[in-house]
Symmetry: C2
Subunit: 213 residues, 2 copies
């Protein structure tokens, strides 16, 4: 028990954090099949991850498996959704309503995983004043005022690469705490700012390269 | 010289491959600023990656830097775009035109990075027979026939999680060589099939977790 509590205060390793959504998906599939319990062996079969690794990963969240039967599916779902932050709603602004930015505004799936984009910014006069998926698009000049009216913690960065750094600087200056960076630029930010890089293009490059082999 | 050739036949490490798009972006920015040369020191300042690491990474692509001046910007651009596969057009089908699938069809940015989605599949009667961004949406039953008419190497997987594995099996059976998996499921495929996992939700989880700290 004490050990379990100590574990929770540890910083969870990123590889573990990245695997947890796989276990959540397993639990969702088991629930859809009407199962009440899921064992690490079953999850291992589905994810190709060692059962011992799964047990170790799940020791970071407050759930205990029961010998022979495994984890209670409902409890596992709830604990993982809470732990991963999918159960809460994290508000965000999006910067740069180009092709990818517009696509993300239209992806209402993000909201099911805890991210609610409440506004977007661009300078394109054809976009400013319109809405995509009910999300208003403001002129970039209005960002400061919007942050005063309604500060949000997260900025989604989908601007052209020549603007990545300057827009990132602006977000930090106005109090954004985390940047989800979709641009293929390594942005520089103060240490207390969280940056999550998601470069679809880097993933494409890896896939194309492996495909050539 | 010989050493350089040997390097090229090595399998490039994935971390290197993932960093190369950052150097490409650097080169694009330098070009936009009218620069003819870029040094690894300049790239290091922009990417926060050690200059020695950059030089090592670039030794995998066939470009040599010149002492003092660095790399020729135009040549670096061309070599990296070729190497990363962004200069060629890789054709793909997309499976599952839900929220995320629809968003990806609308992201014409992918085409600039070498991925051309030429068709999509779904079972929703309101979607089948329509187009998004000029990309036709077929009924899933037509996949086999479409692959016979016009085989493509890549499948983009954006189906609901309960279908991830069965659709992946179908893609492999029909001759798809690489799967870009956006579902939060670890799909099981034969060894010769390339799988690139891009779970936006796993990235969200990492960001939310770091934000809590």
């Amino acid at each position: 028990m004490t050990e379990n509590h100590e574990k929770q205060t540890d910083r969870i390793p990123e590889p573990t954090l990245r695997r947890l959504p796989w276990y959540l998906s397993c639990a969702q599939l088991m629930k859809a099949q009407g199962e009440l319990y899921v064992s690490s062996t079953q999850m291992s079969r589905q994810t190709n991850i060692d059962a011992s690794q799964i047990a170790k990963d799940l020791s970071y969240v407050s759930i205990a498996g029961r010998t022979r039967v495994g984890y209670e599916v409902d409890r596992l779902l709830q604990v993982l959704e809470d732990f991963l932050g999918f159960a809460a709603l994290h508000r965000a602004f999006l910067f740069g309503v180009g092709s990818l930015g517009g696509a993300l505004l239209r992806d209402s799936g993000l909201q099911q995983f805890g991210l609610k984009i409440v506004g977007a910014f661009d300078v394109n006069p054809r976009l400013v004043g319109t809405c995509i998926n009910d999300i208003p698009i403001y002129h970039s000049d209005e960002f400061e005022r919007q942050m005063q009216l309604d500060p949000v913690p997260i900025g989604v960065l989908t601007v052209p690469i020549r603007l990545s750094q300057s827009v990132a600087d602006l977000l930090v200056a106005e109090g954004i705490k985390a940047i989800w960076n979709f641009t293929p630029i390594r942005i520089r930010v103060p240490e207390h700012i969280v940056v999550q890089n998601t470069s679809l293009y880097a993933h494409l490059a890896v896939m194309f390269n492996r495909l050539k082999e």
